[in-house]
Symmetry: C2
Amino acid sequence: MRDAEIIAADWGTSHLRVWGLKGDTVVHEAASDQGMGQLSRDGFEPTLLALIADWLPEGQVTPVIICGMAGSRQGWVEAPYRAVPCLPLGGLLAQAPCRDLRLAVHIVQGLQQAKPADVIRGEETQVAGFLAQNPGWDGVICLPGTHSKWVHVSAGEVVSFQTFLTGEMFALLSEQSVLRHSVAGWTEDGFAEGVAQGMERPERLMARLFGLRAEALLDGLAADMARARLSGLLIGAELAAAKPYWLGQRVAVIGAAPLAQHYAQALGTLSAPVSTHDAIAMTLAGLAAARTLLPPEEPPCVN
Amino acid sequence: MRDAEIIAADWGTSHLRVWGLKGDTVVHEAASDQGMGQLSRDGFEPTLLALIADWLPEGQVTPVIICGMAGSRQGWVEAPYRAVPCLPLGGLLAQAPCRDLRLAVHIVQGLQQAKPADVIRGEETQVAGFLAQNPGWDGVICLPGTHSKWVHVSAGEVVSFQTFLTGEMFALLSEQSVLRHSVAGWTEDGFAEGVAQGMERPERLMARLFGLRAEALLDGLAADMARARLSGLLIGAELAAAKPYWLGQRVAVIGAAPLAQHYAQALGTLSAPVSTHDAIAMTLAGLAAARTLLPPEEPPCVN
């Protein structure tokens, strides 16, 4: 059991995924819903240890590399942002305080852009993982999720990026707005229709949203059509706004199924050359690549 | 005390306002937060009686006229929609079942539009009240709120209308999204800036929204600026989409302060001739006008 050489962790607002690596091989894997959002500063170390204590060789220090919101101001320790243009991974890893002498915890820095003001935390590691697997790749990486990101990559660097609130908006509207009574399920037709409407007249978004409710009341619009169209309207509006990113570019969509497929499908209708890639696999590849940023000698970490 | 000739009520999703009228004079007034949203069908009558029982003359039937969501499918009784173009008030009032022999309860019908599918329930009464006070007025009436409405009025009729989810979106984003950490207070500058940005590039809305969070993190954007800009971005995007309504028209904004003033201010920057009118006063005027729709003889209402 106790054979991990390094621990890699993806610690977001609402999730934690950890891997034990030996060379490039995953020898352990675990996950929990103890995201940054529900932890106070001194809750991170015990939460991590609860998952990985059995993987740690005794009598030596095992490095831990973490990406994601655990490095935010409200996280374990703040890992500052690096300014684009820059490599997706670089700079100093932030060292997180810990008591257990078997751990040396490092957190990957996020990225910041001055104008328009924007930040990334976590997705830079997915971008790095993708580039590690696709060296020399230039183009645009789309990372759908709660806050979807569009990242322009050239010569191995992140040139610029743009965040959209699309995923969070979908969750709020479908679960907490007046529309929640009218949406459930999914149909491909509804999604395609929504994307087309959202792309064509993105400025009409807030009227189209109420239209879903009105059509449900007046025309009996089916709940699966309505939910898929809601998603399509939001993603279509995002694609319209992100056009300077994807137009004339090849696009790699990194995300979880089925959301990544929905984006790829929508981009496909725009004749953008699209490939899709699993978000967890890219995160793991990026964390593995981040090993080169570890300090050469690893002193034991004491609080 | 017991001198109301008629009871008028505005019964929305989250509020109830009632007036006792004698001729055109308001002799009683009361309000509660017992909106339609928290009542089951048999909860309406006792809720109403709790406010008005003391106003009712004994030994006779007092008519009650209600507008708003109490007439929806989930309300006291469903008052069907009338199709535009039509007068804002008309058709048969829906009769609500009640046990108290002193009451005869009638609910105003809402309006529906076939294409684009849209519905109004409650605002038709405000429009009627405005037209009762401004006979012969042609133009566009803007009714900001949870679901803001734009209503094209000509020759006393509602020609067409359009609903935007703006107010609900603002509430969700400012109270429940990631932006809730960054928004509090108000500044006129922030609002004006948001309106300008929202009008200019409405399709960029979801990116601008995340930008508020990023600017707070990177540039220390003040919370009052951020909240006012959030409101401005949403209202600006609404104004961009509603341009076919307000362009070249005079606009009457009917709403509560300060929201109505914010809309009027934003419309003012677009050189639209704007007037503002109090929503409660217009509702009351509309309910008073609805008296002409009461059946000529009022039988006692028995369940």
